[in-house]
C-alpha cells in the first residue's frame, strides 16, 4: 500500500501539469472541431478521373465555340481514340468539353461539366448524355446556349459518319432547356445546325 505522502513531490507536480495539458488540449480540440463545422465545405472537384484511353492517337476536328464574336471555329486535335464507334464518340465530346473547362477557354463551361455517355442508335441518331453540372452551371442566354449545342452536334456529326439527328439529355433525362433558352426537348437536325453555323460564320451585322 502506497500512501500519497510516499509519492515524490516533483512527480505529483508533473502529473498535475500533464492533467492540465490534457484538459487544455481537450478544450482546444473541442473548440477547433466546432469552428471546423461552421466553415463551408471546400469546393470539391467533381470532375471524374478519366479512365486511360487505349488506342492510337487520331486527328479529329473539334468545332469550338467562341463567345466573342459568337461563332464556331474548326480546330484540329490529336486525341487517343478507342476502336468502338460509340466509345470514340464519347472520347471526342470529352475532348471538346475539356477545351471548354480550360481556364483560358473562349467559351467556358462550369466546373464538373462532363459528357457521361454517347449512345449511337441506328440508323442515324446520337444521344448525348451530359451531367447535371453541365446544364445547372451553364451560362444562361440564347447565344451562349446555342453555341454549346451547335458545338456538340457539329463536332459529333463531323467526326462520326451517318448521324443526322442528335438528342441531348441531362443526367439521363430529358430537360426543357439547357439553361433557360436552348431547347432540349426535341431532336437536333444535323443539317439545320450546319446552316446555323454558316449563319454564325457569315457574321451578319
Amino acid at each position: 500500500m502506497i500512501s500519497p505522502s510516499m509519492i515524490p513531490r516533483h512527480l505529483v507536480i508533473a502529473i498535475g501539469a500533464m492533467v492540465l495539458v490534457v484538459l487544455f488540449m481537450g478544450i482546444y480540440g473541442w473548440h477547433m472541431r466546432g469552428r471546423a463545422s461552421e466553415l463551408p465545405p471546400a469546393l470539391a472537384d467533381t470532375r471524374p478521373v478519366a479512365a486511360p484511353v487505349a488506342g492510337p492517337t487520331e486527328q479529329v476536328t473539334l468545332y469550338v465555340a467562341y463567345d466573342n464574336p459568337g461563332i464556331l471555329r474548326p480546330q484540329s486535335a490529336r486525341i487517343p481514340l478507342p476502336s468502338g464507334r460509340q466509345q470514340r464518340a464519347e472520347e471526342l465530346l470529352r475532348a471538346l468539353v475539356n477545351v471548354y473547362l480550360d481556364n483560358s477557354s473562349p467559351h467556358p463551361l462550369p466546373r464538373g461539366a462532363e459528357v457521361r455517355n454517347v449512345y449511337l442508335v441506328p440508323p442515324d441518331l446520337a444521344v448525348v448524355d451530359t451531367d447535371s453540372a453541365f446544364a445547372d452551371g451553364h451560362r444562361s442566354g440564347i447565344l451562349e446556349e446555342e453555341l454549346t449545342v451547335a458545338s456538340l452536334v457539329e463536332t459529333l456529326a463531323a467526326n462520326t459518319s451517318g448521324i443526322t439527328r442528335v438528342k441531348i439529355l441531362v443526367d439521363g433525362k430529358e430537360r426543357d432547356t439547357l439553361a433557360g433558352h436552348a431547347d432540349l426537348t426535341t431532336f437536333y437536325d444535323v443539317d439545320a445546325v450546319k446552316k446555323l453555323i454558316e449563319q454564325m460564320q457569315s457574321g451578319q451585322r
Partner: protein
C-alpha cells in the same frame, strides 16, 4: 409514435391512390395555413370525411385507435370517438355527432355535416361552412372581388381580386367560365352582376362541390388575361383573325389550319382562348408579345440583382405602347411577374391567331440586338389541316424571315448593331404564325444600359417600325391580290 406515422402513411397512400375525378364529391378547406381539397366517402347514405386529413394541414396532429375507440390529438386538444357511435368527447366534454362515427382501417371518419360544430372545438376559432357547396372557411380567409365594365371599344370586364388567383378557364362561344379550386372566393354581394352591355352582359358567381366559379356571358368569344401578379383578370372579346402574312406559306391549307395543340403530356394551360371563328369582320392586325421568363423562372442573371425577366417585361411594355401608337393591336402574354410555361405561351399565341409573334429576351453578352427565327427540329410532319406541335413554325418560316429582315432594317437605321440567325428557342417552333425572337444586349459593355429608358425606347421604336412596315407590306399584298 411509430404506428402513428404508419397510420399517416396509409392515409397518404389512400389519398394519392384516390385521384380526383369529375364526378367525385370533394370538400375544400380554406385557411391561413393552407387551402386544400379532400375527397368525400359515402357511407350509410351520408357523406363522410377523414378527420385526421382535415386537421393535418392545420397543425400538429396524431391519432391512434384502441379497439373500437379512436383518439385524436390536435396540438394540445384531445378528442375521443367510438366506432359506430355518435357520442364523442372533445376537451373532456361529451357531445353527439349528427350520425355515427366510423372507423375504417384505422382511419376515423366523421359526417361532413358535423364539421361546422366539430372543427371550432378543435381549432378554438370560428369556421364558416357552405355545406351545400362543401366549402369550409377557417377564420377570415375569404378572397373578395369586384367587377367593373370598362366602356372602351371593345368593352373590357376588369375583375380585381383581394389576393392572387389562378383559375382554370374554359371558353365556348359567348361564355367564359373560370373555376377557382384553391381560392376562398366569395361573391361581392349579388350572385349575378348585370352590365347592360351586349358584348359582355353579365357575370355570375356560383359554388358547388368544393369549387367556386364565375361565368361571364357575352355575345362574342371572350378571352381572359392576367395582370397585377394574378390579382386582376381582364376579360375582353377575343381578337379577330388577322389578314394573311406578307410571305404566305406554300400551302394555303396549312395556313388556314387550326392552331396546333401542345402534346398531351404537358399541363393544361391556365387560359384557353377560343379559336376565333368569326372571320366576317375587318380583322385588326394583331401582334402577340411575349416577355420571356417571369415568376419563378428568372431567366439569365444579368447582374447579381438584375434578372432577365424584369428587363424583358420593361422592353415589352414599351414595345406594346410603340405598336399601339402605330395603330397595331397588341396582346401581351404576360404583363406581370407571372410564371407561364413555354407550351402555355405557344397555346395562347396560337389561339389568338396573330399576324406576328414576337418574344423578347435580354443578355449581358455581346452588343446590340440579336434577331432569331426558329431552328426547326428534326422530325415532325405537318399533314393537311394538322400541324405538328414541334414543327408548327415550318410553313411560316419564310414569312418569319421576311419579318426579321424588316425589323433588322429598322434597327440598323437607328445605328443599333444587329445580328440575325436561327435559334433552337421555344416557343418559336410551336407558333403557327410568323415568329421572331429578340435578344437585347447593351450597345456597349455597360449592363446598366439595359435599364435605361432611352435605350429601351430606341429599340422598342425600331422594332415597332419594322412590324408596322410588315403590316403595310401585308396590306399592300392583300390589295394587289
Amino acid at each position: 409514435m411509430h404506428w402513428n406515422r404508419s397510420l399517416l402513411a396509409v392515409v397518404l397512400v389512400l389519398l394519392v391512390s384516390n385521384a380526383p375525378s369529375a364526378d367525385e364529391k370533394r370538400i375544400s378547406i380554406y385557411s391561413t395555413a393552407a387551402n386544400y381539397s379532400l375527397p368525400l366517402i359515402e357511407r350509410n347514405g351520408g357523406d363522410y370525411v377523414g378527420l385526421l386529413e382535415i386537421l393535418d394541414p392545420l397543425g400538429s396532429v396524431s391519432a391512434r385507435n384502441d379497439g373500437p375507440h379512436w383518439k385524436i390529438r390536435y396540438n394540445n386538444i384531445e378528442g375521443e370517438f367510438t366506432s359506430g357511435k355518435s357520442r364523442m368527447r372533445i376537451r373532456g366534454k361529451d357531445s353527439d355527432l349528427p350520425a355515427n362515427f366510423l372507423l375504417e382501417r384505422g382511419r376515423g371518419l366523421v359526417p361532413v355535416s358535423s364539421l361546422s360544430t366539430l372543427l371550432p372545438r378543435f381549432l378554438g376559432g370560428p369556421v364558416t361552412f357552405h355545406e351545400s357547396a362543401r366549402r369550409l372557411f377557417v377564420g377570415s380567409v375569404a378572397t373578395q372581388f369586384s367587377a367593373e365594365l370598362s366602356k372602351t371599344n371593345p368593352p373590357r370586364l376588369i375583375m380585381n381580386f383581394t389576393s392572387p388567383v389562378n383559375p382554370t378557364i374554359a371558353t365556348e362561344p359567348g361564355k367564359l367560365r373560370m373555376v377557382f379550386i384553391r381560392e376562398p372566393l366569395l361573391p361581392p354581394g349579388a350572385q349575378t352582376l348585370n352590365f347592360a352591355d351586349q358584348t359582355i352582359s353579365s357575370a355570375t358567381f356560383a359554388e358547388n362541390n368544393g369549387t367556386a366559379d364565375i361565368t361571364v356571358v357575352g355575345d362574342a368569344s371572350l378571352m381572359a388575361t392576367f395582370s397585377n401578379d394574378g390579382r386582376t383578370i381582364t376579360i375582353a372579346p377575343a381578337p379577330q383573325r388577322p389578314a394573311p402574312p406578307a410571305a404566305p406559306p406554300p400551302s394555303v391549307a396549312v395556313q388556314s389550319a387550326p392552331p396546333p395543340m401542345p402534346p398531351p403530356a404537358v399541363s393544361t394551360p391556365p387560359v384557353i382562348a377560343p379559336p376565333n371563328a368569326n372571320t366576317n369582320h375587318q380583322a385588326p392586325y394583331l401582334v402577340v408579345l411575349d416577355a420571356s421568363h417571369g415568376g419563378d423562372e428568372r431567366g439569365a442573371a444579368l447582374t447579381d440583382k438584375l434578372a432577365e425577366k424584369d428587363v424583358t417585361l420593361a422592353i415589352t411594355r414599351r414595345l406594346k405602347q410603340e405598336l399601339e401608337n402605330r395603330g397595331v393591336s397588341v396582346l401581351m402574354l404576360r404583363d406581370a411577374d407571372a410564371t407561364l410555361s413555354l407550351d402555355q405561351r405557344a397555346a395562347l399565341a396560337n389561339n389568338s391567331r396573330p399576324a406576328i409573334f414576337v418574344t423578347l429576351h435580354a443578355s449581358s453578352q455581346g452588343n446590340g440586338v440579336r434577331l432569331y427565327t426558329a431552328l426547326i427540329p428534326a422530325g415532325g410532319e405537318n399533314r393537311g389541316n394538322f400541324l405538328d406541335w414541334d414543327t408548327a413554325q415550318s410553313s411560316f418560316l419564310p414569312a418569319s424571315q421576311n419579318a426579321l429582315a424588316l425589323v433588322a432594317n429598322e434597327l440598323q437605321k437607328k445605328q443599333i448593331a444587329v445580328r440575325t440567325m436561327s435559334a433552337p428557342l421555344r416557343p418559336l417552333n410551336n407558333i403557327s404564325a410568323p415568329a421572331l425572337a429578340l435578344e437585347v444586349a447593351p450597345s456597349d459593355k455597360d449592363i446598366a444600359q439595359l435599364l435605361l429608358p432611352d435605350y429601351q425606347q430606341t429599340i422598342a421604336g425600331a422594332v415597332a417600325s419594322g412590324v408596322a412596315a410588315l403590316r403595310d407590306k401585308t396590306a399592300q399584298a392583300g390589295t394587289q391580290r
